[in-house]
């Protein structure tokens, strides 16, 4: 199994680390997203991961937000943009986005299932407590 590391993002209290496994991209986000305009940094970063997943023909992307303590609504919008982009992919470009969240963290328990409703065929919310 490969465990290749893609470019990490470190910005304003947030660290995002993507890793490539066999036919899977695992992305871990740690910290908080409460900068004034997270879209400036996060949207191009998520787009880059989306491009990389499609380039490699990956069918499963896992986003782990369990250690993301807080995300403001502008940060949530960056995930909306990613999901909207992923929803538009067809055929060989299509992948599923599994979002792992902690049901004990209020923003995660309320926001992640709501985001999944935007694209139920693409986003799979997965609750992992603790």
């Amino acid at each position: 199994m490969t465990n290749e590391t893609l470019a990490q993002l470190k910005t304003d209290g947030l660290t995002v680390t993507p890793r490539l496994g066999e036919n899977v991209m695992r992305v871990t986000a740690i910290g908080t997203v409460e900068m004034r305009d997270p879209g400036e940094t996060l949207t191009p970063y998520w787009n880059g991961l989306d491009d990389e997943a499609r380039r490699r023909g990956i069918k499963r992307v896992e986003l782990d937000v369990k250690d993301l303590n807080y995300m403001n609504s502008s940060g949530i919008l960056t995930l909306v943009r990613w999901i909207t982009r992923a929803k538009a992919h067809e055929g060989a470009d299509a992948y599923q986005l599994f979002v792992y969240y902690d049901g004990n963290v209020t923003w995660q328990r309320t926001s992640i299932p709501t985001l999944a409703k935007l694209a139920p065929q693409v986003v799979v919310p997965t609750e992992i407590n603790g």
Binding site: E34, Y70, N72, V80, N104
Partner: protein, 160 residues
Amino acid sequence: MNRPPLSSDYVEMRFGPRWTYISSVRKFVASFFMIGLADKERAEQISMAASELLENAVKYASEEEGYLKISIAKAANEVDVCVKNEAESHHINTLRREFALIHAGEPEQIYLKKMEEAAMTEGQSRLGLIRILYEGGAKLRLDINESEVSIHAIFPLETL
């Protein structure tokens, strides 16, 4: 000026509209109400609302005015988070429209619709108020007194 007596579950802060303060206030409010309510979920909802309202206030406060104010008061059956600031008339009109929009239907459907619309356009998310309404389960009230804007997020406690 006569002011009503303050309960022990009351916080008021006044500070310059600086983005970097918002995170500190959010964490303080969460800790304060974790103790006061002994309910982690409600404390996190209240602190989320405080943070979203403060973000709006910092973004849209008129530049001449030097401060914004947040007060959070717990009454017998509700917690009222209020953020007050001065704003330009065009921002006040935008707020009025936003309030009408988010109260025009079922909150989840409006939230999802606004997400889809926001994804298609550049600029601010404008998801903060509907997030408070839908995710926080709060009621929102807008009070305008000339150029002074107060937004209340009111959390019922009887549903706990």
